[in-house]
Symmetry: C2
Subunit: 153 residues, 2 copies
C-alpha cells in the first residue's frame, strides 16, 4: 500500500466527503439521519469560521477514506480534539488505512494545545471497539446521548 | 423567585464557575476528573478565541447555577449547539432555575444558525432524564464514549 497518501482535506474534497459521510451513515444503520446540505458542509469547513477539519486517504487520486475532527471544550479536562467521523470504503478495509487516518488526528491533537482526544463508537460495532482498544482507549458506557432538533440546515 | 436573574457569564464569574463545575463533578461521582486549571478555563472562555460560553443564575449577587455550551459540528446534521454542563446548587433545586438555564441555551441555539441542540446525561440520573423528557428529547443509548488522554492543561 505504498501509494496511499494521507493529506488534509480541501474544499474541493467536500462532495466526495459528503458521499463518504453517507456511506458511514448507512454502515451505522441511519442513512436518513444525514440532512445537512453540501453548501452548509462546505461553508462550515472552509468558510470564514471553520468549525471542522479533516484528513483524507487517497490512492491514485481516489479518496477512499477520511477522518473528520473539530475542537471541543470539556469543563473537566479543557480543550479536546474530537474525532467526529472516521471511515474507510469497505473494499479498502484491513489495509491499515483506518489506523493512518486515526493517527493523523491523534498527532494533530498531540501537537496542539489539547488535553486529549474524544470520540464515540456504537456499542455493537465490535471491530471498531477492538481497533480502539489497541490505543489504550478508555470506554465509558454510562452516558446517554440527548438531542432536540430545531431545523435542517 | 422573582429576584432570580439569568445572565451571560463574564470573565469575573470564572472562579465561581470552576467551583460549580467541581460541585457537578462530585454529583456525577467523578470529582478527581476535574483537572483543568482556572487560567486555561478563563482563557478558553474569554481569550482571543473563545470556545465556550455560559449563562449564570444569580440571586442577590450569588451565582447558584450555570449552563455552559459550545458549538459542535455534526456531519449528519450540521452546526449544533452543545450543552456541556448544567448545574444548580442543591439547596436551590426544585425552583425552576434549571429550566431557566436550559431554556437560555435552547433560545441561543434557536436564534442562531444551528440545526439542533445536543448534550449527554448519565444513565442513572433519573431526575435529569425526567426533566429532559418534558422537552421531547430524543435519547440514544447505543453510543460509547471513548477517550485518550494526552496531558493536563
Amino acid at each position: 500500500m505504498s501509494n496511499i497518501v494521507i493529506r488534509k482535506a480541501s474544499r474541493e474534497d467536500c462532495p466526495r466527503l459528503m458521499a463518504l459521510v453517507k456511506g458511514l451513515a448507512e454502515y451505522e444503520k441511519a442513512p436518513e439521519e444525514v440532512t445537512v446540505s453540501l453548501s452548509h458542509f462546505e461553508e462550515s469547513g472552509f468558510g470564514d469560521n471553520p468549525v471542522w477539519w479533516a484528513f483524507v486517504a487517497e490512492i491514485d487520486g481516489w479518496v477512499c477514506g477520511f477522518s473528520l475532527y473539530y475542537i471541543r471544550y470539556s469543563t473537566w479536562k479543557g480543550r479536546r480534539i474530537y474525532l467526529e467521523d472516521i471511515y474507510v470504503e469497505p473494499e479498502m478495509r484491513g489495509k491499515g488505512i483506518g489506523a493512518m487516518l486515526f493517527d493523523a488526528v491523534m498527532q494533530e491533537g498531540k501537537s496542539g494545545d489539547f488535553s486529549g482526544m474524544m470520540w464515540q463508537a456504537l456499542d455493537w460495532n465490535q471491530p471498531a471497539l477492538d481497533f480502539y482498544s489497541k490505543y489504550g482507549t478508555r470506554f465509558d458506557e454510562e452516558w446517554v446521548n440527548c438531542s432536540i432538533e430545531f431545523k435542517d440546515v
